[in-house]
Symmetry: D3
Subunit: 68 residues, 6 copies
């Protein structure tokens, strides 16, 4: 599978917090903990659970650089 997102970070799902419509999935990566928010429906259709290996895709336009 090839995709048009410039950034891809692999990791392991460590926690899933569910709200009424959305959920927050935490992924342990080499760059530390990364959180992803998606709909509960997407979570269900992926069958995502703790321990799963995943890739985090991030389009380059969806990042903001900060310089101290």
């Amino acid at each position: 599978m090839k995709h048009g997102a410039r950034n891809q970070i692999t990791g392991t799902v460590t926690e899933i917090k569910k709200g009424g419509v959305m959920c927050q999935v935490k992924v342990d990566t080499k760059a530390g903990n990364i959180s992803s928010v998606m709909t509960l429906e997407s979570l269900d259709s992926m069958g995502l659970k703790k321990g799963d290996q995943v890739s985090v895709l991030i389009k380059a336009v969806n990042t903001i650089l900060v310089k101290e």
Copy 2:
């Protein structure tokens, strides 16, 4: 400075590619190379250059998880 982006990855600017209106900035991080696209004007107002230490901010809603 505190911000409302859940994800923050630090790194060093390694390359800047300029287009007519936008530019692509590459940042070397623990999670590999991360690209950020912004306007040339933002690049100029930040005074960003190769070797700068930066943080890459990513909102949790702007990530997509993929499971093979």
Copy 3:
């Protein structure tokens, strides 16, 4: 602190509505009320509360122009 978001609007936090995973923060600005949605965790890590002075960052790619 310098950042790569082209748009920055300052204001005062007037209301915080909490959901199960996300929250909505309202900011009173010169351009009227602006709402920001973030995770509850980001809200907590910022320690955000009513009356706080904040800046609203918006990347230029995340706006849509409409002409009547």
Copy 4:
């Protein structure tokens, strides 16, 4: 016309910068200058030009709050 973007700021187009595929449109508003990036094709199909009155739509999830 009703839309599902929580934030709407009105203003006047003051400048249009064109690149190869994208363009940057500057809008003078009560909250200062706001930049919007879109495709050249969207610019053409809108027939946008300097002096036009426009609304800037911004979804609440596409904002990042910063507290100094």
Copy 5:
């Protein structure tokens, strides 16, 4: 009304799921079911309900292409 989003898909609202702050609106289109997430407040201010005819706007930068 003219807008700066390159993609527009029309359809009919078939379901609305409400959370604490956000909601998910499902729209039946020629391309199948499309889900949109917005704040409950935007839902209310639009007065959106099942059976409504709507357009789904999507900026070109907010899509990711995938090739198997």
Copy 6:
């Protein structure tokens, strides 16, 4: 491959326009023509060309509903 984007529309690449850093890819789908903007580097790493079958992924939070 399973992904956390709620919306997926399949189609055929019909045109690729290149700028200095970004490009615009047009995809013919059941819902009409859909444009996707990505970096030239992502285009190259995907090896995308006219006639390719692709899926367009769109997160539910990245859509805006409009009611006339």
